[in-house]
């Protein structure tokens, strides 16, 4: 029996309330499945479980403030490991056993192989599950395993109501966005950052004329719904540069810096009513411009409307903040622990710029870096900024 504990979702999160269970006792879960909704200082966050197994018991009461680390649920990860060889499990689970096996062996194989069958291949299991076409479609869309559901339709068939019933049973009233609580949480994190992290700052002005010109052409070829925002170019250039400079991408904990294998780029999103979250875009360095644009749109929507996942709040390895059109000329960021750097982009302003020996009025942005002096120094920081500037000067290669 394994315990599912209340995770910490940020540098200074101390407690949270479970407001809704998305699974019921007896449900099978896989690593990455959403299992509960937590109410935190950052609003309602969907929490994933990172174990495989069956929910044995939902321990945490709803709507009660619990400390980080409290046991939320007990998970039966099973004496039987998920089949190492899907082929072996599938063979073991074959219900249409040849007649030779229909002796006393059959009852044993069917009971023992049932969990293995469900693990080994949802394709195999779901073809044996009686479910309405609508339930099947909804389950596929939501990534729910039909075999894990109890059916209330004719002959025990799973119908759409059974998918909704999974989460509906346990639900508490949501408090909604609490600006004061969020401000307090941000305050605690920022104070800790300034106390513990020796910041150093560098900045560089970048002419965005080639990038914006390229963007205009690229957008002309795209439908309105697919248009790229300038922010995506900044994101992509930053992600690629950070992949090349590992001392700015990772976590500093217990007096040790661990560089991260991927650039999980936190993007600072201002919330209406005050407040800030910086959920991560996973493996940002591997996503092309369109993928980044889609990820950005999705994150902003969920940050403002609910539905951010716990893993998105905790997995950022570096953060980028862009002040946008009405922002100041430059931003001097405060690093979000346990990260070791934060990049900032000020407002894009038209400024005099020297190009080809002449002065012209061109769009210019001030790119700034705040970095942890325990991990990196100004020389590396300068090279990082120059790398970003170079990439932005050649937008077609982004």
């Amino acid at each position: 029996m394994s315990e599912f504990l209340l995770p910490s979702l940020g540098a200074d999160m101390e407690s949270a309330r479970v407001v809704e269970w998305l699974v019921a006792e007896g449900d099978r879960v896989s690593s990455g499945d959403l299992v509960a909704v937590l109410e935190t200082d950052k609003g309602a966050i969907d929490v994933e479980i990172f174990q495989n197994g069956v929910i044995a018991q939902l321990v945490a009461p709803l709507d009660v403030e619990l400390p980080v680390g409290a046991v939320l649920a007990l998970v039966d990860t099973g004496a039987h490991e998920p089949a190492a060889s899907p082929v072996a499990a599938a063979v073991e689970a074959a219900p249409a056993a040849p007649p030779a096996q229909t002796s006393a062996a059959v009852p044993d194989t069917t009971t023992r192989s049932a969990p293995a069958a469900a693990d080994a291949g949802t394709a195999m299991a779901s073809s044996a599950v009686r479910a309405s076409p609508l339930a099947r479609r909804l389950a596929a869309e939501q990534g729910i395993d039909l075999a894990a559901l109890r059916g209330s339709g004719p002959g025990g068939a799973v119908i759409a109501a059974d998918l909704a019933a999974r989460g509906g049973a346990a639900r508490a009233a949501r408090r909604g966005f609490d600006a004061t609580a969020m401000r307090r949480a941000i305050g605690a994190a920022m104070s800790r950052s300034k106390r513990e992290i020796p910041h150093y700052y560098l900045s560089r002005q970048v002419c965005l004329a080639p990038a914006l010109r390229w963007l205009e052409e690229a957008n002309a070829a795209r439908g309105v719904a697919d248009r790229l925002l300038p922010a995506v170019l900044l994101l992509r250039a930053s992600a690629l540069a950070l992949a090349a400079f590992p001392q700015f991408n990772g976590h500093y904990e217990d007096e040790r810096f661990t560089p991260a294998p991927e650039v999980n780029l936190g993007w600072a999103i201002a919330l209406r009513g005050g407040g800030l979250v910086a959920p991560a875009i996973r493996a940002a360095h591997e996503r092309d411009l369109d993928a980044l644009m889609a990820a950005l749109r999705d994150l902003v929507k969920r940050a403002r409307g609910g539905g951010l996942r716990a893993s998105e709040l905790t997995s950022a390895t570096v953060t980028v903040t862009s002040l946008g059109e009405r922002g100041a000329e430059a931003v001097w960021p405060v690093i979000h622990p346990p990260q070791v750097a934060m990049l900032g982009f000020g407002a894009v302003l038209t400024r005099p710029w020297v190009t080809a020996g002449r002065i012209a009025a061109l769009p210019v942005v001030t790119l700034s870096l705040a970095a942890d002096h325990r991990v990196s120094d100004g020389h590396a920081g300068s090279l990082l900024l120059e790398d970003i500037a170079t990439r932005l000067a050649e937008p077609e290669r982004l």
Partner: protein, 328 residues
């Protein structure tokens, strides 16, 4: 000021208006003139409009339907009244092999702008040979448009649209509807003969029906509402071509469907609708499609047996409830 009249009176008014408006229009059939019509639809019209426009025919469906086809080919706009769909079997060859095909077989050189009105359905203890609902059979035949007015408004205005159609139209009037009365909306002066109509909106289950089964289906919807189930009732109005778009849109919202059809279940119009819905909205279905049809027996004479053999509000309610709250 909304006019209240019976379905029968609406049919009569439609015939009168059509004959008065167009010199090519006339009506012929058995006992339509002096007798005033077997169901009194044409009562008084022969006196009013003259025997040249309301013509009594010999007792031979094949002959007078054929004559109607001939008149239509020659440029008239005849309304042929076949007393009931049961007797139309004697004119099946004329309808299916002549009326429905001449436009095609002549490469478009000939058109058959013929309207055939027929009474249909059971409920008057007319027993096995006189209680058929064969609209579904006719809906099987390309070249025919099949109409089933179920409301006073449709009875009043579908005829004009049918006469305007350059191809053969069969118009079925359910015998149990003739005495039904309803209000005519003065703002409505024409209706289409292409679309189904949602008679009652709902969100839990779609009830599809036509003709004489509409009042029963609406009654069933009221009973279901009392039980917390909101049923959407759709009146097909046109049985060929079927307005599948309206049906599919409704089932896509409710995810459940019951089809109420007074014909026998086997090989019926309800089977065609179910198959078409599976083809179009399979991935929206949360339950099998249910059908409430006549029992697989020749329609009985005895009143209690006849009622037991036909769709009733209770059986429609049971079918709908089974879909919404399945007993596992």
């Amino acid at each position: 000021m909304a006019e209240t009249l019976t379905y029968r009176e609406a049919c009569r008014a439609a015939i009168r208006e059509a004959i008065e408006a167009d010199p090519r229009v006339f009506l012929m059939g058995e006992d339509v003139g002096r007798y005033g019509g077997c169901y009194a639809v044409t009562k008084g019209l022969a006196e009013e409009l003259g025997e040249a426009r309301i013509r009594d025919t010999p007792l031979s469906e094949s002959a007078f339907v054929g004559a109607g086809i001939g008149a239509a080919l020659a440029g008239m706009r005849p309304i042929v009244e076949v007393m009931t769909v049961n007797f139309s079997l004697l004119a099946l060859d004329q309808i299916v092999n002549n009326a429905a095909t001449l436009a095609h077989m002549s490469g478009g050189q000939f058109a058959v702008p013929l309207v055939i009105r027929m009474a249909t359905g059971a409920g008057k203890q007319l027993a096995a040979q006189h209680s058929h609902s064969l609209e579904g059979w006719y809906a099987h035949v390309p070249g025919l448009r099949i109409l089933a007015p179920a409301t006073v408004e449709d009875a009043r205005y579908m005829l004009a649209a049918a006469l305007a159609d350059p191809n053969p139209v069969l118009l079925f009037e359910h015998v149990m509807l003739y005495n039904a009365s309803g209000e005519l909306d003065p703002a409505v002066t024409t209706v289409d003969i292409a679309q189904a109509k949602t008679r009652r909106p709902g969100r839990d289950v779609t009830l599809v029906t036509y003709g004489g089964s509409l009042p029963k289906t609406l009654a069933a919807a009221e009973q279901l509402a009392a039980d917390g189930i909101e049923a959407e009732v759709i009146d097909l109005r046109v049985l060929r071509p079927l307005d599948l778009a309206t049906l599919a849109a409704s089932v896509a919202r409710t995810h459940r469907c019951v089809i109420v059809d007074e014909g026998w279940k086997t090989g019926s119009l309800s089977a065609e609708i179910a198959a078409s819905l599976v083809e179009t909205v399979f991935f929206e279905l949360d339950a099998p499609i249910a059908r409430v049809c006549a029992a697989e027996v020749p329609i009985p004479y005895a009143a209690h047996l006849e009622q037991a053999a036909l769709p009733q509000p209770a059986t429609i309610v049971a079918a709908a409830r089974d879909l919404v709250r399945p007993a596992s």
